[in-house]
């Protein structure tokens, strides 16, 4: 019997002793990516007249639902049910305290002139009885979803210390079944799959999209010609420009963190190497020069280093080098092959695809190759793309029983996974940074 008593006593002690730093009592405790969920109450957002509608729904209800979905998708929060609506009167903390909520998000929304929506989002520390963070949010009414995402970003930052990844966008490639392998459409949506629209017309194959750091431009591979090219597109107006690359097969483009150049792989004369093109001048510089295939370059966020995959030693492995190609060194040494490195936005980790026995799964390791772990189980998981928070990864998932690819998002433990983009074959996710 004592078995049961001791742990609960310890737990009680832990509760009493941990939140002593008064500075930030609302912190989600995250150890090795595993969080102790923060109990949070999110009553429906209150209206201040005039009321606004969201696609026929009560705006306050819609905003609250998206806010809850955002926060709960991370596994960092536990929703404490609350049947009351945010009122305009003073907040009464007692009921929330009694239901165990440590955090409380109260929102007020109203329509303002010029087709805009004003949403005041406030995070309360229930036990301290004070405001932990607050933000006035103003968006165009047709972009009302962004208001909820911005509120979620505020709560995430205040409680984890990391920027949120909710007011962000996702690129993906969709192939319809009848045109599989012949044509595909590049689409952009909110990170949660909502508000999707096509950026290309689906007349040719497109692949491997990537965001520029500003989130306003993208680069992707296009087979509008028999030998594919790299296309830069301005997302807002759809304007495109083709990068001029000397003969060979180009693939795997990625912007540099300063947005001035694009690194890519160019296959010619029997090997593939990594190059960079300066977008303004068109000047091209070769960065690797070995036999075999060097591809999938990914910049460190400080722009000083590039992670890439190479099969120079046999099977594909992950390497890191200076942005000028100096100091190339292998960092993956486990069993099987390692591919598609993606440097985290915080710079400390690299996500990758691990390939062994015909099985592809997503893993993460420190940027020096240490502390490697797998976060999905495959058998066909690939194309990892980081969230701006560094706390989640979008990837493409296929399974033998559902051969059409889908886009999923997972936390770094691999436990909080959910599907984002399904339907016909959807692949190649690329996740933007936080929108301005």
């Amino acid at each position: 019997m004592t078995r049961f008593v001791i742990p609960s006593t310890l737990a009680l002690l832990a509760v009493l002793t941990t939140p002593t730093s008064a500075q930030s009592p609302l912190r989600v405790d995250i150890t090795e990516g595993v969080a102790t969920p923060l109990p949070i109450a999110i009553p429906d957002v209150a209206h201040v007249s005039p009321p606004a509608r969201a696609d026929g729904e009560d705006m306050g209800v819609a905003l609250s639902r998206i806010l809850r979905n955002d926060l709960l998708s991370t596994a960092f929060y536990r929703l404490v049910p609350s049947n009351q609506r945010s009122s305009e009167e003073q907040i009464v903390f007692a009921p929330f305290m009694q239901s165990g909520a440590q955090a409380l998000v109260i929102g007020r929304v109203r329509a303002v002139e010029g087709g805009q929506l004003s949403y005041d989002c406030t995070l309360y520390d229930v036990f301290a009885g004070r405001i932990a963070a607050s933000k006035p949010i103003l968006v165009r009414t047709d972009q009302w979803r962004r208001a909820a995402h911005k509120c979620a970003d505020m709560v995430f930052l205040a409680t984890t210390g990391d920027p949120g990844h909710f007011d962000t966008r996702l690129l993906s490639i969709t192939e319809s079944d009848f045109a599989a392998g012949k044509a595909a459409t590049l689409s952009i949506s909110d990170y949660d799959g909502a508000s999707a629209r096509g950026l290309t017309q689906g007349r040719e194959l497109v692949a491997m999209p990537a965001f520029a750091p500003d989130g306003e431009r993208i680069v992707f591979m296009s087979y509008d010609t028999p030998v594919p090219g790299l296309v830069i597109m301005d997302v807002a107006n759809g304007r495109t420009a083709k990068l001029n690359i000397p003969g060979g097969v180009v693939s795997s483009p990625a912007f540099s963190p300063d947005g001035t150049s694009v690194v890519f792989s160019l296959a010619r004369d029997g090997s593939a190497n990594i190059f960079a093109v300066d977008i303004a001048t068109g000047a091209i510089r070769q960065i690797t020069e070995t036999i075999g295939s060097n591809t999938s370059p990914s910049f460190s966020p400080d722009g000083r280093s590039i992670a890439f995959e190479s099969d120079r030693s046999g099977r594909q492995q992950i390497y890191v080098m200076g942005a000028d190609g100096s100091g190339q060194r292998r960092i993956s040494f486990g069993r099987g092959a390692y591919a598609s490195p993606a440097w985290s936005p915080l710079g400390d980790e690299i996500a990758f695809t691990h390939i062994e026995g015909g099985r592809l799964r997503i893993g993460v390791m420190n940027a020096d190759g240490s502390r490697q772990r797998f976060i999905t189980d495959g058998p066909f998981d690939e194309d990892a793309s980081w969230a701006a928070s560094g706390r989640a990864i979008a990837y493409q998932r296929r399974s033998p029983d559902r051969p059409s690819a889908e886009v999923w998002i997972t936390d770094l433990t691999g436990k909080a996974r959910h599907i984002v983009r399904a339907g016909s074959h959807t692949s190649d996710p690329a996740w933007s940074g936080t929108r301005p």
């Binding site: 599989a180 392998g181 012949k182 040719e204 194959l205 692949a207 491997m208 087979y223 509008d224 010609t225 028999p226 030998v227 594919p228 090219g229 830069i232 420009a241 083709k242 990068l243 001029n244 000397p246 003969g247 060979g248 097969v249 693939s251 795997s252 792989s265 296959a267 010619r268 004369d269 029997g270 090997s271 593939a272 303004a280 001048t281 068109g282 000047a283 091209i284 295939s293 060097n294 591809t295 999938s296 995959e309 099969d311 099977r315 594909q316 092959a337 591919a339 598609s340 695809t353 390939i355 015909g358 592809l360 058998p379 066909f380 690939e382 194309d383 296929r398 033998p400 051969p403 190649d428």
Partner: protein, 185 residues
């Protein structure tokens, strides 16, 4: 200018949209240039089975060389670019046919299976197509008649994820792009 692709030995012609192969090859020699440049030639790319092959403006198809040489596709072992004996045999037939039809140009397409990263498979496909080009060049096909491209795993011949299906995706396809040859009319 109008280019033609031979539909069959009996001199049925297929019209294809202008310039494709010419511009394609010119592109290979292009030095560093400014953005945005590259005048991109217009091509109605019609790939895969089931299309109407007599449709004006369509490309040569995999079916065309099949009618001439009996084989347009070669297969590779997993992860490599080596040409097997049977692959070389098929390329020999293609080289022989190309020697008899010197105005025809070819697009060599490399493909790969699902068991590798998207990026790696594109590079692998390009290297496979390059291996085909080298072999055909050694068999007397002028290099300026050949273009190399890769689809990696973007254009699978078989969709299933089993090894039996994926074997069919480790392949190289030779697509004809041609210009009318008086001797064939």
């Amino acid at each position: 200018m109008t280019m033609y692709v031979f539909k069959s030995g009996k001199s049925r012609l297929l019209r294809i949209s202008a310039l494709a192969a010419v511009v394609l090859l010119a592109g290979c020699q292009r030095p560093t240039q400014l953005l945005p440049a590259a005048p991109i030639f217009e091509i109605k790319r019609v790939a895969g089975p089931g299309r109407d092959q007599s449709e004006p403006g369509s490309f040569a198809t995999q079916a065309d060389p099949a009618q001439f040489s009996g084989a347009t596709t070669i297969y590779f072992e997993s992860g490599v670019t080596d040409l097997s004996e049977s692959a070389r045999h098929i390329l020999d037939i293609q080289a022989e046919w190309l020697d008899r039809h010197r105005d025809v140009k070819v697009l060599l397409e490399g493909h790969a299976d699902e068991f590798g990263s998207r990026e790696h498979q594109i590079a692998l496909g390009a290297r496979r197509a390059e291996a085909m080009k080298l072999y055909l060049a050694a068999r007397g096909v002028a290099v300026n008649r050949m273009s190399v491209t890769s689809f990696g795993k973007q254009q699978p011949a078989a969709q299933g994820l089993s090894e039996a299906d994926q074997k069919l995706n480790r392949r190289g396809e030779t697509v004809l792009l041609g210009q009318s040859d008086a001797s064939q009319n």
